[in-house]
Amino acid sequence: MSVISVEHVRKSFSTLEVLQDISFSLNSGEVLSIIGPSGSGKSTLLRCITNLETVDSGTIVIGGDTLVTTGPDGTAVYADKGTITRIRLRVGLVFQNFNLFPHFSVLRNITEAQIHVLKTPRQEATERAYDLLAKMGLGDKAKAYPYQLSGGQQQRVSIARALALRPQVLCFDEPTSALDPELTGEILAVIRELATEHMTMMVVTHEMAFARDISDRVIFMDEGFIVEEGTPKQVFSDTKNERTRRFLSRFGS
């Protein structure tokens, strides 16, 4: 069953077409990696799915509900506010720069949305937060503030924060790009663990080895197009596509 389905999505920033006719779908339990050079539109695609950017035209369906579709005049028609509020929580997003709330403790970073958006009782929200922190290996950091944590720890908190809302899909926007190689390993290990639990995930990444290891499917994007889509083996080892080959050669893989 597809959790996210994207059809013919287009998006441009003034004259620059960032997404040109993007179509793909993400199935439940699947891990999809999106790779490609900077400026290829990978992050914009994630941001359109999480409704941080609006599309110009095309259809995005999340968990069976339509977020946006193309109207009769060819422009995007978004769902009403209530529907958007309801379906946006189905997709969690982990940012490159974590974007934790600096004035909240780690615990409150994770409970705030549970309590105020999902209306989970405080007690239950706190328990869930502690469970998630334990899972992230941060059981002792609940009372700490983000600035007291390393980048890797902050990113794990932000993963916990996203998971706390029990999203159907968890999206990662270059989750390790702000981290040094050692801390990168920490985060990749967490994502890998989530993959073994069959969490549905979409990962925009520059970590090629990781993408090859972890993904069920890989999309290679360039200049707003999906150049190639397939299993890691198809894309990384057996690609016939000249552009893909050229991109991957830089990573020695």
Binding site: G92, N99, A113, Y147, L165
Partner: protein
Amino acid sequence: MGRLLTLMLGGTLTSLKIFFLTLLFALPLGLLVAKGRMSKHRIISSLVNGYIMIMRGTPLILQLIFVYFAPYYVFGASSDRFTAVIIAYAINYAAYFAEIYRGGIQSIPQGQLEASSVLGFTKVHTFTHIVMPQVVKRIMPAMGNEVITLVKDTALAQTIGVAELFRVAQNAAAREFSTMPIFVAGVFYFVMNAIVSKSFDLIERKLDYYK
């Protein structure tokens, strides 16, 4: 000397009333003005911008006279002096506060708003729980400056005949042919501002629990 101090304490009380009432009205009004200034509606933002230009571009003493006398020419009646002072100060200080708020609000990284949006917070919750607490911390030094200026600006209220601290001191000086009361008033202002500075230090330290 004892009588002089009693008189000056009375004047101080008036100055303090002006000070606190101005803050009471100007602090929230400034936030509203800041929101207007940042509005996406061109008409609202340029109107508010014009208001800020006038408030910051003309002397407070002139605005005070205007607020006190203009109603007389228009309606044939004036509000009482003290009310005029509070109105003039509130709308003047709101303009300065608004620009400080705006600076603070615009300094909050876009990522904070994006994280709030992805987590499903309402706009109101994002503003009151995510943005404003961080703004308050960032604007404290600038606010401290402005509030200290306000303590000294209360002396202008005498222009329309409100007997605040400085007017009382001047009257006493004229009566006693001595400049001493003026310098005593200086000490009073200094002490009030020492308290204001100290309070801001304390608040800043209280907000130091995060970076």
